[in-house]
Structure formats: structure tokens, C-alpha cells
């Protein structure tokens, strides 16, 4: 069964029509990449999925159930994790508290989930040494690792990743790539990724290319042709 199915999604910002009839599917254990130049609506699509924006029409099915009229926190509890552009770490909370918040979406919430799973420190060793620091004091790359770790602690079925490698040094990008691949293998969750780095895009199973709010091309990333890359990735 498909994990996520989007049918005919239309989202507006006020009167401006951003997403036009978007159809996307993500299967469990699959990494799907969304490519396209700036301002074509990739972030808008992720925000519509997590519930920060409400689409005007169309359907979002998660595990076969409609997400219509569900608040973001309910979607999180259903198993959707969101790693937004700009990381959105809670700035004055410590790294440890930020990680704990990742478990709020588990059944029982924070009150019953108080142990941070050690595998997070295997994936991102830097976090363990910074547990007592304020989240807002970390560097961009460290915050990105924290944001991904926080998302993983909620044992999500679907992870929405918005440009996880934007403005981050290459060595950390490698770590992040490896971590995401490992998570998909181990947990079988699906990943919907917005990305500009060609290397990272090639790690995905399938891609959708967006232009002016609509999907204009899709296929396997193995078959990504030079023309598609030139047209949709700002290299």
C-alpha cells in the first residue's frame, strides 16, 4: 500500500495560486525527491502536508486515511515528521530538551517517553557532547543534525525533509546522507525530500520535478537525464 498519496492538491497564499493539481505518491521504504527551482512551491507542498497550510482542494491520504482538517500536531502523532528549511530548533531549549520534544508525537507523549534512544548518538555523535547547550547556540550544520535527530526520535513513518543540506559544509552533508539512508533501511519509513544538491538527489529512488506549482516530470532518479537536471536543478 502507498504510504502517502496526494491527489489534485491546490494550495493558495491569499489569492495567489501556488500549488496546481499536484499528484504525488510515496511508498514505504522509499526516498522520493522533489526538485525544481526556487519559488516553484516545494516548501509550500511540504507545509500543506504537515498541515501548516490548508489546501483549498485535493486529497492527502496517509496510510489510506484522509488528513483533511487534521491539525499539525495530530498529523505528527500519526507518524509524519517534518524537518523544515531553516531547521527551526527551539532556540532557548537545550539540545537534550529539543531531542525530548521529538518524542512528543509518540503514543503517551513526553510524559511517558523520557529516554533518548542511543542510536541517535551513533548517527550524530556531535549531539551527545552538546546535550546541555542551548539549541540556538549550535552552528547551522549541528542544528540540521539536531533537527533530523529530533524528527527520527518520533519513530515516524514518513519524514518530510526540506533542503537538509542547504548552507552546510560538505562533510556534514555526507553524514546526513548516510544517516537518512540508514534510517530508511532500518525502519522502512518513507522520505519526501526537497533538495538541490545533485549528489543527494541521486540517492533517492524517484523524483518529481516541479515548475510553477505543478508536477511537470517524474521518474526514477537513475534515469535522470542531463536535460532534466539542467532544467530543474540550479547547479
Amino acid at each position: 500500500m502507498t504510504l502517502l498519496e496526494i491527489r489534485g492538491l491546490n494550495t493558495y497564499y491569499g489569492e495567489s495560486h501556488i500549488l496546481r493539481e499536484v499528484d504525488i505518491t510515496v511508498n514505504p521504504g522509499e526516498m522520493v525527491c522533489l526538485i525544481g527551482r526556487n519559488g516553484v512551491g516545494k516548501t509550500t507542498l511540504l507545509k500543506s502536508l504537515i498541515g501548516l497550510l490548508s489546501p483549498r482542494s485535493g486529497e492527502i491520504l496517509f496510510n489510506g486515511n484522509s488528513l483533511e482538517r487534521k491539525a499539525p500536531h495530530q498529523r505528527a502523532q500519526l507518524g509524519i515528521a517534518y524537518v523544515p528549511q531553516g531547521r527551526e530548533i527551539i532556540p532557548y531549549l537545550t539540545v537534550e530538551e529539543n531531542l525530548l520534544l521529538g518524542m512528543e508525537s509518540l503514543p503517551g507523549g513526553l510524559a511517558e517517553n523520557k529516554k533518548i534512544d542511543k542510536f541517535i548518538y551513533e548517527l550524530f555523535p556531535i549531539l551527545e557532547s552538546f546535550l546541555m547547550r542551548k539549541g540556538g547556540d549550535l552552528s547551522g550544520g549541528q542544528q540540521q543534525q539536531l533537527a533530523i535527530a529530533r524528527a527520527l526520535l518520533g519513530k515516524p513513518k514518513l519524514i518530510l525533509l526540506d533542503e537538509p543540506t542547504e548552507g552546510i559544509q560538505p562533510s556534514i552533508v555526507k553524514d546526513i546522507e548516510a544517516a537518512i539512508k540508514r534510517i530508511i533501511q532500518e525502519t522502512g519509513c518513507g522520505v519526501l525530500l526537497v533538495e538541490q544538491h545533485l549528489n543527494f538527489v541521486r540517492q533517492a529512488n524517484r523524483y518529481y520535478a516541479m515548475q510553477r506549482g505543478g508536477i511537470v516530470a517524474s521518474g526514477k532518479t537513475k534515469e535522470l537525464s542531463k536535460s532534466v537536471i539542467d532544467e530543474f536543478l540550479s547547479v
Binding site: 500536531h73 532556540p91 531549549l93 520534544l101 512528543e104 540556538g136 529530533r150
Partner: protein
């Protein structure tokens, strides 16, 4: 030495009243960014709850426990004010998040409504109303969830509310017939008499410390400590801090920001109620008692740095000590041989109201240099 100690104690006493009054505001304004002009009226409701509790404890059945009514009234005042605060949040403020001007106007309107409410509605009916809402809200939380099937949910809910209304009416009826003071509306000020053990004072080092003042200081300390522990140690405290700092991301992590808002507002309002108990011990209680504190509360919160509890604490004690130093003309007693021109200035400000004028002017001047207050937020996240 004695003089300094006395001045310090007076400052501490004035400061702790300010602090307990501003604590709730620091949470509502500092954490949620809601300018609640009805905060003073929530204090006023707390003061009236003390009055009602006191009268109830004068009934023959409860007379033996009269001395402890103040402890019960703390709980009652907290509940009354937080219920009214939650109603206010759910009905009005919720719709106005992000519109500070509209919130300001709306809450000011609510403050006028509440003032008129205690003038023209007998306190017994007010109590009945509060009890109705209280049982209506609390009973659904107590009933185990598995007993309510989805089908019968609506019937059970309306059943609970009708029973609550009945209980409310019965209480109102009972109170208005047995305690005649509660049965009729009155715009006049009422007096809360402190129980016997709170009258008089304790002598230490030749200075008399009034017990009421000491009690208020103790209440303030307990309130501050419990708020700090709650915010920093409890699960809900962490949720509150998360939502305060990044609402949409907290929501995406699975925190219901709606619940957090209600809780935060309920606690902030409840603290206003506790402040009301303290205020009722200091003077007579009237419909306007809250509005005389609200300006001072805002001053404390702004001076301390919005969203900073430590700042609120230091700000209220410094304002308290300054009020005593200036308002009681204590500078003259400390330094009697001051030049006469200076002495006349000191004398000019040596009344409570003139001291307030001077202190507010000083705060305004201070904020010109440090607009974010004593303890502004700092770190990478502010610059970024």
C-alpha cells in the same frame, strides 16, 4: 542598621505584592505576548473570592476552621480566576492572536464588564456561575474515557452541563439565603478581616514585622518557586516553553498549541487570583482594586525584560525598595543633615502617589537606554 533593615523589609513587602501581581502577567504577557488589560480584574475576582470564602467560613458548620480560611481562599481564588481567564481565552483572546491592538481593546472591554459585574450582580450568583462552569469543565476530565462511547458523547456532555447548571443554581440560592451579604448586589467596598493569628506583628531585633506582610512574602516566594519549577521541570512546562519560542514548529512536533495556550492562560490568570488574596489582606476590596495595580504590573514586566522571570523578580523588588525609600521620605531619616533645597525635593516626593510618579518617570528614562529591560534575551538566536 535597624533603619536599613526596616526599609529593606518594607521594600520587600511592597515588592512582593507587586511581584505576585506581576507574576501572572509575566506569564501571559511575557510568554504568550498577550496584553491582557483584564489582568487587574482577575486580581479583583481573586480578592472577592477571598471575601466570599471568608463569609462561608463564618457559617456555623465551618466556624471551627475559620483560622485556616486564608489557605482555602488561595485555592479558591486561583480556581476562580483561572476559570474566568480560560473562558476569556477560549471566547475572545483565541480569536485575536497576532492582533495586539484588538486584544488590548477587547481585554479592556472585558475589564469594564467584570467591574460592572461585581457591582450589579450579587456575589452569590457570581459564585453559582463559577461553580457551574467549574463542574461543567472538570467532570468530563474525571470520567474515564472508555465509559464514554462516541455515540453517547453528546448526551453525556449535555447531561453534565445541565447537572452543573442545577448545582450552580442551588449554590447561588443557598448562599443568597443563608448569607445575606452575598444575596444583594453592592458597589461599595467590602473588607476582608484577617484571621486572629495574622493580626499584630512579630518583634525581631526591635523591629515589628506585621504578620500579614510576612504571609504575603511567604505566598509570593512559594508562588515564584512553584512557577519556576513547573516551567523548568515539568513536561507541560517544557511544552509551554517550546510553544512560546516557536509555535508552528512545536505544533509540527506533536504539541497541541491550543491546549498549551489554555493552560498558560489559566495559570497566569490563577496567579492573578492569588495576588488578589494578597491584595485583599492589605486594604478594602472594591470593583476598582485591580485597575490600581495593573499599571505597576506592566511596568514590572517591561522593566524586567519581557519573558524573563528573574528580571520580573528583580524589577519588582527594586521598585518596591525604591517606593519605600522615596515614598516614606526615608532618605531624610537616613541622612538628616541633607541641604535644605534637597530636603524639600525629597519631602515633595515623600507621598505614595508622588513616589509612583517619580518611579515611573525613572523607569521611562531607564527604558530609553535599555529598551528591552534589565535582562534582554541574548545569544546567537537573537542576532540571527
Amino acid at each position: 542598621m535597624q533603619l536599613i533593615l526596616e526599609s529593606l523589609f518594607n521594600g520587600l513587602a511592597i515588592g512582593s505584592v507587586l511581584l505576585i501581581a506581576a507574576l501572572g502577567l509575566a506569564i501571559v504577557f511575557g510568554l504568550m505576548g498577550v496584553i491582557n488589560l483584564a489582568h487587574g480584574e482577575l486580581m479583583m475576582l481573586g480578592a472577592y473570592s477571598t471575601y466570599v470564602t471568608q463569609l462561608i467560613f463564618k457559617l456555623p458548620a465551618l466556624k471551627p476552621f475559620y483560622n485556616s480560611y486564608i489557605i482555602v481562599s488561595l485555592l479558591v481564588a486561583f480556581l476562580v480566576s483561572s476559570i474566568v481567564g480560560i473562558l476569556l481565552e477560549k471566547s475572545i483572546i483565541r480569536r485575536l492572536y497576532g492582533n495586539p491592538l484588538e486584544t488590548l481593546l477587547a481585554t479592556w472591554g472585558v475589564s469594564l464588564i467584570l467591574q460592572q459585574f461585581v457591582r450589579s450582580v450579587p456575589l452569590a450568583y457570581g459564585s453559582g456561575f463559577i461553580i457551574t462552569v467549574f463542574t461543567g469543565l472538570i467532570v468530563p476530565l474525571i470520567i474515564p474515557e472508555h465509559l464514554i462511547s462516541n455515540k453517547s458523547k453528546r448526551y453525556i456532555k449535555s447531561g453534565i452541563w445541565s447537572i452543573s447548571v442545577l448545582i450552580g443554581i442551588l449554590t447561588a440560592n443557598y448562599l443568597s439565603t443563608t448569607i445575606s451579604k452575598l444575596g444583594r448586589a453592592s458597589a461599595r467596598n467590602v473588607d476582608v478581616t484577617a484571621p486572629a493569628w495574622m493580626r499584630g506583628g512579630i518583634d525581631i531585633l526591635g523591629i515589628t514585622f506585621p504578620v500579614t506582610r510576612l504571609v504575603i512574602i511567604v505566598i509570593t516566594i512559594i508562588a515564584v518557586i512553584s512557577v519556576t519549577v513547573f516551567l523548568n521541570r515539568s513536561v507541560w512546562g517544557m511544552r509551554i516553553r517550546a510553544v512560546t519560542q516557536n509555535r508552528s514548529m512545536s505544533e509540527c512536533l506533536g504539541i497541541s498549541s491550543e491546549k498549551v495556550d489554555i493552560l498558560t492562560f489559566g495559570i497566569g490568570s490563577g496567579l492573578a487570583g492569588i495576588a488578589g488574596v494578597a491584595v485583599s489582606l492589605l486594604g478594602s476590596v472594591g470593583p476598582n482594586v485591580g485597575s490600581s495595580y495593573i499599571v505597576g504590573c506592566f511596568m514590572v514586566v517591561v522593566l524586567g525584560g519581557v519573558g524573563n522571570l528573574l528580571g520580573t523578580i528583580i524589577a519588582s523588588f527594586s521598585i518596591g525598595i525604591m517606593t519605600d525609600l522615596i515614598g516614606a521620605g526615608r532618605l531624610l531619616t537616613i541622612w538628616p543633615e541633607m541641604p535644605s533645597s534637597l530636603a524639600s525635593t525629597v519631602n515633595f516626593f515623600a507621598t505614595t502617589s508622588m513616589a509612583r510618579v517619580l518611579i515611573f518617570a525613572l523607569i521611562v528614562a531607564f527604558l530609553q537606554f535599555r529598551p528591552a529591560g534589565l535582562f534582554p534575551q541574548k545569544g546567537r538566536m537573537v542576532e540571527g
